[in-house]
């Protein structure tokens, strides 16, 4: 008899975990996936492409229903989990049903933060997280509503781009003095700003949202410095918060996220967490790649194999058509490190490599990202780069040729 394994959340991490389990532990577990989104798991990363009209909502579905069925998965989507009973190994779901488990995996993801400012609860204030949000934003754009996007990180930029592409006049307001400050240095952010502005998006930096005006609906956004931006809608894209309520209420140790060890196990036995809801070694990742890595490790662990997760060296790719952005590792380059910079701003190119101790430790690329993955590999493998230093900036093929010469 297969052990019951229950996955809470039917996002990308859940889908990848099922895929990995099918590869390494086929038949060992009877898998149930319980998620509150009312559709099959889809590629959340591509929501901005859907918004931009570059792909369709149907096309981003990760796997067809048959795929899940073939793997014997019980799918309950559009269904909210309400409580974990760790002691009885039961998951309570809505309608007072309960699902027993032998192993439980939390892939509950995260939720967008809503700023705590007056007017944040007005009609017309939205977030950008799931396909329901996208449907709503598309209808806004179709009506040429004036939109203010709050937040100049990855998510905010992708939302702003999608909206603008869909036809809405968009203003992006960002609290900091540069875009994507957690991934980009000042020159890169400056170049990115000009490239995004060329897409027709107005960008305001050092823009601290004070309040949202409107009687019943959004009418405008007021900044702390007094500037007033007329708007028909506001999108909050100013950060995410891991969904940890379920775990916290079950008495499972949480911090910002659900705390997991190197086997992705939470403080409770046989309860695991991966993806954006998990906090590993103090880090909550907000990207898909660590979730996939965690899914792979967890699947092997659940299959009884030796596997552990050491953390991810993350790289950021912005998905805005024609604006390639890549950032990885120590992109600022602090004390004890050296930087090599190639900039051709009029051609939309800025590349910075950070070197410390004869190794590549960080990279920021705008425009020319052809060798991004090579740089990521160099950063991850920590291989000495002294011999290729002179050519590294200009790509793997030149560096390899010079090294061979």
């Amino acid at each position: 008899m297969s052990e019951p394994l229950v996955i809470v959340g039917n996002g990308m991490a859940a889908a990848r975990l099922v895929d990995e389990l099918a590869k390494v532990a086929l038949g060992r577990y009877a898998i149930a996936v319980i998620g509150d989104e009312p559709r099959l798991a889809y590629n959340r990363v591509l929501l901005s492409s859907v918004l931009a009209g570059e792909t369709t909502s149907q096309d981003i579905e990760l796997r067809p229903a048959s795929w899940w069925r073939d793997r014997g998965v019980t799918l309950k989507y559009g269904c909210t989990a309400t409580e974990i009973d760790v002691g009885r190994r039961e998951l309570k779901i809505e309608n007072d049903e309960s699902v027993p488990f032998s192993k439980l995996v939390l892939t509950t993801g995260s939720s967008p933060l809503r700023l705590n400012v007056p007017g944040a609860d007005l009609a017309g204030v939205h977030t950008f997280r799931d396909s329901r949000d996208v449907d709503l934003l598309l209808s806004l754009a179709a009506q040429k509503k004036r939109v203010v996007v709050v937040g100049g990180g990855l998510l905010g930029l992708e939302a702003a781009y999608g909206l603008a592409k869909a036809g809405a006049p968009v203003t992006l307001v960002h609290l900091m003095d540069r875009l994507m400050e957690r991934q980009l240095d000042a020159p890169a952010a400056e170049l990115l700003k000009s490239l995004v502005e060329r897409k027709g998006i107005e960008i305001l930096l050092n823009a601290n949202t004070a309040r949202i005006h409107g009687e019943t609906r959004v009418e405008g956004v007021e900044l702390v410095d007094g500037r007033l931006i007329p708007a028909d809608a506001v999108i909050f894209a100013a950060g995410i918060r891991p969904n940890i309520a379920l775990a916290r209420e079950a008495g499972i140790a949480v911090n910002r996220g659900v705390v997991v060890d190197d086997h992705l196990q939470t403080g409770a036995p046989d309860v695991f967490a991966i993806g954006e809801c998990a906090e590993h070694r103090g880090i909550c990742y907000g990207l898909v790649e660590p979730a996939y890595e965690q899914a792979r490790v967890l699947a092997r662990h659940l299959a009884g194999r030796e596997a552990s997760y050491p953390g991810s060296i993350v790289a950021t790719n912005l998905k805005v058509s024609g604006v390639s952005v890549f950032s990885a590792g120590d992109f600022m380059g602090g004390d004890g490190s050296e930087t090599i910079v190639l900039s051709d701003l009029n051609h939309g190119t800025y590349k910075k490599l950070v070197i410390a101790g004869g190794r590549l430790t960080g990279a920021v690329l705008i425009g020319d990202v052809a060798d991004a993955l090579w740089y990521l590999e160099l950063i991850r493998t920590r291989q000495p780069t002294q011999r290729i230093r002179a050519d590294m900036m200009f790509g793997r093929s030149l560096a390899i040729r010079s090294e061979a010469a």
Binding site: S324, F326, V341, A372, L373, F394
Partner: protein
């Protein structure tokens, strides 16, 4: 002036460079340029051209041309003036100084690049009418020793042989001549003789130059010992029955003294070997080959001439030919290779301080004859000051007015820094030039007169075999440039000599020159072109190359002296007993080496013309010093590094080239670079101003010298559409490049300074590569898709590939991939190019994906299975689908980056 043919047909003219005097066909392109090819009809080259001649078309630009007369005004700057004002000024100032200090206070310094007609007018004006013989020329640096040697031996400055001798000789002995680089077309003729007739070649030179073929005998003698070698040869010829006793008896005098002196200098093979530093076996082989070969031509050039004993060297060589009667016979003669296009024409005119005119000297009958011919009341009656002494007199303040025409003495004379300082003392310093700036022009000129350049001027030149050829105009003169003869004629008229200078064309002058050569000649003088004195203007325009003498009513004569007939009262040649060979300077602990100087293959003189050619700039783009490996090790020098080269006269900073071809104890540095195109590379400033007592030619090839390493942390280069002023602290060599201006440099200043320097003039469209920690900065600014300026600087051996970047700079537009790779400073040829990235997660490019689709992938999943593309975040899957749909209608992009040509 010759009118420019509107049909732009090929015009036959003569090369601007060496004394080979190759015929050229120039076809103007109607836009100020011309296509250049060798003239198949010309007897000097039969269509062949060397690298320099072939590139003449690249040197016709007007970027650095002097276009208008200029006078230094009260503020000290040079201001444009009208011709009439400039000429009035020159005439007035000359008149004033002559009236105050006498004719000895003025001088002309001429050039082997002047046409014969220009030379003639200069010589006539100074010697006949101003009354001074202070007319000398840069030919003094080139072949004055040959002239003096010829005159001592033959009684006249006669080249006895002709180029056909090089085809017909069985033995070619090259002494102090790197003909492969300096007279390439003649060298090719000699090689053809080697290959077709089996002629052998012997090269006598302290350096193993490119003239030495693998199968040649190379005699790498010690500097200044040529006379010992040829004295030893004369003894060997005498002792081994190789003399032509009849010829010696009938046609020569002085043999006994000469052979006695020769025995004294090098009485045996062993003594010769000892004196020259050569192996006895090599000496013996040379002697035997010479003794046993009737058809032997001994060719000599600067290695013989540029010496404080150059005249003796010439005579030591000539002695051996006289003693064997091997002179003026087919394939048998001594042969001086002249360095300049019209050094010979200058000699014919007599445009040298120790000649009067038309192969006449300062003897009372000659003076009288020329006075009568010219109707010259104040004709000079004694020799003037030869080049080195002329500039010493300027330094002492004795000569107060100098007119330099078409030459750059502030670079080319020995002790060139001293010369440059001396020029600043002149009361009147006039320069007739093509260029608006060179070291001489920049040395305080008071009046600048724009002369016509090669391709614009019209007249005649004479090559090393006495062949007179027309240089013809095929371009209109730019700005207000005028023929040199016109400029001097106008000054002469203003000095009151209008009647004697009423020339209206080069043909006018040529006719008078020809008439003077024949005037009361009757065969007494070798130089006689009397048959040409009545040429019509159109005959002159159409004149085919003709070898002199061209006597009225006589048959042409290709050679001299086979049957004697020397130009002395007794019609006999003189054997000359040379002085014991010894260099006039000693090496010391402080100056342990000797400096040899010379030319390189693709540059000419001070580069005012060749320096404009990108093609010629490729061969050896930087000033350098060649060092033997043992000397390099002893002095701590490595190939490619820099060195300070110091003599008692000056100092240079040069790139080090370590070469086995260099003799131990000797350095070699090329003469071409100057302040105008490099930093600290004025090699003339190193040379001791020691001259030959007979010829006045300086010893440019044996100055005691020291060398020490000099370190530059950074090397780099800059390319720009406009001329750049590089920072003063850098060592810089300017190099001609296609499409703009190139600079190679070395420096010790910090990179940030170079970055700000570039930014101070670069366009806003600036691309930069900064690795300050690795010592690298590169920047390129653009105008549209074209490079405007770029700067590459880095550690000594990692500054970027100049040739790669130069090619990209030459392009009118860079593609995106070329621009992306430009600042790598490396060739992107053959590098795989994946194309723009489609799958960011796995770094898979469009070209790779399209290849895979072409290879059969039909779905995004297929592509994922093969390339992993789309299998992580999946965000590229829509694009993958599009590419699948597109491929089939349009092919993928190019696989490799193509470099610009």
């Amino acid at each position: 002036m010759t009118a420019i043919d509107p049909d732009l047909r090929a015009i036959s003219t003569t090369c601007a460079y060496c004394g080979v005097g190759c015929g050229i066909l120039a076809t103007p392109d109607g836009r100020g340029g011309a296509a250049i090819s060798g003239d198949p009809e010309h007897p000097a080259n039969f269509g062949r051209l060397c690298s320099k001649g072939s590139a003449l078309g690249e040197t016709l630009g007007l970027a650095n041309r002097l276009l208008y007369p200029m006078i230094r005004c009260g503020k000290g700057t040079m201001e444009r003036v009208a011709w009439s004002d400039a000429l009035d000024h020159v005439a007035h100032r000359f008149q004033h100084i002559i009236a105050r200090d006498g004719p000895g206070a003025v001088a002309f310094y001429l050039s082997g690049q002047l046409l014969t007609e220009d030379y003639y007018v200069a010589n006539k004006l100074m010697k006949g009418f101003i009354g001074s013989a202070n007319v000398d020329t840069n030919s003094r640096l080139c072949m004055a020793s040959s002239v003096a040697g010829h005159r001592r031996a033959f009684g006249a400055d006669t080249v006895p042989g002709c180029y056909e001798d090089l085809d017909e000789a069985d033995l070619l002995v090259l002494v102090g001549s790197n003909a492969a680089w300096c007279h390439p077309v003649l060298y090719q003729r000699m090689l053809a003789n080697k290959q077709q007739r089996g002629a052998r070649m012997i090269v006598i030179d302290p350096r193993r130059t490119d003239t030495v073929g693998d199968d040649d005998l190379f005699l790498g003698l010690k500097p200044g010992t040529d006379t010992a070698l040829f004295s030893g040869l004369l003894v060997h010829l005498a002792d081994n029955g190789a003399l032509d006793r009849d010829y010696i008896a009938l046609h020569t005098t002085g043999f006994d003294d000469a052979i006695a002196r020769a025995r004294n200098i090098a009485g045996s093979v062993g003594a010769t070997a000892l004196a020259t530093g050569l192996a006895e076996q090599d000496v013996a082989t040379f002697f035997q080959m010479f003794a046993n070969t009737e058809r032997v031509v001994t060719l000599y050039s600067q290695g013989v001439n540029q010496s404080a004993q150059g005249t003796d060297k010439v005579n030591a060589i000539v002695n051996c030919h006289l003693a064997t009667g091997r002179i003026g016979l087919p394939g048998a003669s001594p042969f001086s290779l002249t360095g300049q296009p019209n050094a010979m024409g200058g000699r014919e005119v007599g445009g040298l301080a120790n000649q009067l005119a038309a192969h006449m000297g300062f003897t009372p009958p000659d003076i009288d004859r020329v006075r009568r011919f010219w109707k010259a009341p104040r004709i000079a009656t004694h020799e003037g000051l030869k080049a080195v002494q002329m500039f010493e007199a300027i330094a002492r303040g004795e000569i107060k007015a100098l007119w330099v025409m078409g030459t750059n003495p502030a670079v080319s004379l020995p002790n060139a820094d001293g010369v440059r300082e001396a020029l600043k003392k002149l009361e009147l310093f006039v320069v007739s030039e093509n260029v608006i700036s060179n070291d001489t022009v920049d040395a305080g000129t008071h009046v600048l007169l724009p002369a016509q350049a090669w391709g614009e001027k019209s007249g005649t030149v004479t090559n090393s075999e006495r062949c007179i050829s027309r240089q013809r105009a095929f371009l209109s003169a730019p700005g207000e440039a005028r023929p040199d003869w016109w400029i001097m004629g106008e000054v002469a008229r203003r000095l009151g000599f209008g009647a004697a200078f009423g020339f209206s064309s080069a043909a006018d002058i040529f006719r008078e020159h020809a008439a003077l050569s024949a005037f009361e000649n009757e065969g007494a003088r070798d130089f006689d072109i009397g048959a040409l004195q009545s040429l019509s203007d159109s005959d002159f325009d159409a004149m085919a190359p003709v070898q002199w003498p061209v006597r009225q009513g006589s048959e042409p004569q290709a050679r001299f002296f086979a049957e004697g007939g020397f130009f002395a009262n007794d019609f006999k040649a003189r054997f000359i007993a040379p002085e014991i060979p010894a260099l006039r300077t000693e090496t010391t602990a402080a100056r342990p080496l000797r400096l040899n100087t010379g030319r390189i293959r693709d540059q000419w003189h001070t580069m005012t013309r060749t320096g404009e050619s990108p093609r010629l700039g490729q061969h050896l783009p930087e000033p350098f010093v060649e060092v033997h490996p043992d000397d390099a090790a002893r002095h701590g020098l490595a190939d490619g590094d820099f060195a300070r080269v110091t003599t008692d006269y000056g100092q240079c900073t040069l790139r080090v080239v370590v070469s086995e071809r260099q003799q131990r104890g000797m350095l070699f540095a090329p003469i071409h670079w100057s302040e105008a195109n490099a930093t600290g590379a004025r090699v003339g400033s190193l040379v001791a101003p020691i001259t030959d007592p007979f010829s006045g030619q300086p010893e440019n090839k044996a100055t005691p010298v020291s060398i020490t390493p000099y370190e530059y942390v950074f090397r780099g280069f800059a390319l720009s559409r406009k001329p750049l002023e590089l920072p003063d602290h850098a060592w810089v060599a300017r190099v001609a490049v296609s499409g703009g201006y190139g600079y190679l440099f070395a420096d010790n200043a910090d990179l940030a300074g170079w970055q700000s320097w570039l930014k101070s003039f670069a366009t806003d469209d600036l691309a930069e590569y900064k690795d300050f920690g690795g010592g690298v900065y590169r920047g390129a600014s653009f105008r549209g898709d074209r490079i405007e300026t770029c700067l590459f600087i880095g550690p000594a051996r990692d500054a970027g590939d100049w040739n790669v970047v130069k090619d990209l700079f030459a392009a009118d537009a860079l593609g995106n991939d070329q621009r992306r790779m430009l600042l790598s400073g490396k060739s992107a040829d053959g590098l795989a190019n994946a194309g723009p990235i489609v799958c960011a997660c796995f770094g898979v490019g469009r070209n790779t994906i399209c290849d895979t689709i072409a290879g059969g992938a039909r779905s995004a999943a297929d592509i994922g299975a093969r390339l992993k593309a789309g299998t992580n975040c999946g965000s590229c899957i829509p694009e993958l689908k599009r590419l699948i749909a597109q491929t089939g209608t349009s092919g993928p992009g190019p696989r490799t980056l193509a470099a610009a040509n």
